[in-house]
């Protein structure tokens, strides 16, 4: 089962070393070292982009939000106190930006749908099947569209990022019980949608 969380399946000593190296990079970047920040971007870009893509379901939007999150992180680095890991802090930025963007897109789509009820409904922007791969992905993408942006964030962090509920709560800035509720409701919606698809 593929796991994207850097902590998974990595020996503790290696993990500590990576953590120390990252702290050094963060300190250098905080001092204005662009090369150190470039290294941080290289380390986190796939996970950040993946998270944004899971939430927004559009490669173009995901790329924009992911880039924007890094730019914001760079500007906010002097205020980063290091209470949480850099990755957790960065993910919190991505989640907030993605939720904002998803809300804007959802509202825009709702307005379009009101008009297009008279005619052809456009398919919501979906990832390129060639990139994402297969019918299962497309089907999952359609189901994820039914979730709220917050539920999508919780699902992406829990399944794709394999983060524990405690960390997701920290990233999303909400109590653990609320994260559990979002996950539970999302699972119910997805499962019913999946079963509905099986029947049709």
């Amino acid at each position: 089962m593929p796991r994207s969380n850097p902590a998974m399946g990595v020996p503790a000593a290696t993990r500590d070393l990576e953590g120390a190296a990252e702290r050094v990079l963060v300190d250098r970047a905080r001092g204005g070292d662009a090369e150190a920040f470039r290294e941080l971007v290289e380390r986190h870009r796939d996970r950040v982009y993946g998270l944004a893509l899971r939430m927004l379901r559009s490669p173009a939007e995901a790329e924009e939000v992911a880039q924007d999150a890094f730019v914001r992180a760079w500007r906010a680095l002097p205020r980063f106190r290091g209470d949480a890991a850099f990755g957790t802090w960065l993910h919190a930025i991505v989640v907030r930006r993605s939720i904002d963007r998803a809300t804007v897109l959802k509202n825009r789509r709702a307005r379009e749908v009101r008009y297009e009820e008279a005619g052809d409904l456009p398919e919501p922007v979906a990832p390129d099947p060639g990139v994402e791969g297969g019918e299962m992905r497309r089907r999952l993408g359609r189901l994820l569209e039914q979730l709220s942006p917050v539920q999508r964030a919780a699902v992406a962090l829990f399944y794709d990022e394999d983060r524990p509920v405690e960390e997701i709560a920290r990233i999303m800035g909400m109590p653990e019980s609320t994260v559990k509720t979002h996950l539970s409701r999302a699972r119910a919606v997805l499962r019913r949608g999946w079963l509905g698809g099986d029947r049709s």
């Binding site: 089962m1 593929p2 796991r3 994207s4 662009a34 920040f37 470039r38 971007v41 290289e42 870009r45 796939d46 950040v48 982009y49 993946g50 998270l51 893509l53 899971r54 490669p59 790329e63 992911a66 880039q67 890094f70 730019v71 760079w74 500007r75 009101r114 008009y115 008279a118 005619g119 990832p127 990139v131 994402e132 299962m136 992905r137 089907r139 999952l140 699902v155 399944y159 794709d160 394999d162 559990k180 996950l183 539970s184 409701r185 699972r187 119910a188 997805l190 499962r191 999946w194 079963l195 099986d198």
Partner: protein, 191 residues
């Protein structure tokens, strides 16, 4: 064990254990067995790794970091009052204030003139008119604090009312435009 319990168990995302009554239930209930299979397939699909960031991603971020810093920091931020003045609502508010002020002045003048006219035309009413001019309208309306208070009230009313009026008219206009588009689309479909 009921089907509702089973659904709740799946919603909580708990892992199945052989000793659980849940698995026993799934073996006996076809609907719940399908739900379990769906949950498993979903988890598998959700755990599939997301694609990597597109090529050139890091360079694009670094370019944006170097470029917009100057734009973001040096770009002058328009103060709120200047942005507000640019709003059509602000223009509408100023117009409303002007109209209310003029109306107030006219009313006050008219009132004073009417009292004076009454005073001239009817001697019998003069005492009443005098009393009115001194105690009620004339005296009260002529007081500068009353005029100032009324003008301030009018200003507040205009500031609150004008944006509301503007937004309502904007909403009505966009609804009307949407309706026209709807009708045009409907017509083209039928045609």
């Amino acid at each position: 064990m009921t089907c509702a319990d089973f659904e709740r168990w799946l919603d909580d995302g708990r892992l199945p254990a052989e000793g659980d009554g849940f698995l026993l239930h799934a073996r006996q209930c076809t609907a719940c067995a399908r739900s379990l299979a769906a949950a498993e397939a979903l988890t598998r699909a959700l755990r599939e790794p997301a694609p990597s960031a597109p090529p050139g991603f890091t360079d694009a971020v670094m370019t944006r970091i170097e470029r917009p810093a100057s734009v973001a920091v040096l770009a002058p931020v328009t103060p709120w009052w200047l942005r507000t003045l640019n709003e059509p609502a602000a223009v509408l508010a100023l117009l409303l204030i002007g109209m209310l002020t003029t109306a107030w002045n006219n009313l006050a003048t008219l009132g004073v003139r009417a009292i004076a006219l009454m005073h001239q035309l009817n001697g019998g009413w003069s005492a009443v008119a005098n009393a009115m001019a001194q105690t009620r309208w004339g005296a009260i309306l002529d007081r500068p604090e009353v005029t100032t208070a009324v003008l301030l009230g009018a200003l507040c009313l205009a500031l609150v009312g004008a944006p509301l009026l503007y937004r309502t008219s904007l909403r009505m206009a966009s609804r009307a435009a949407l309706g026209r588009l709807h009708a045009a689309h409907e017509g083209s479909r039928r045609g």
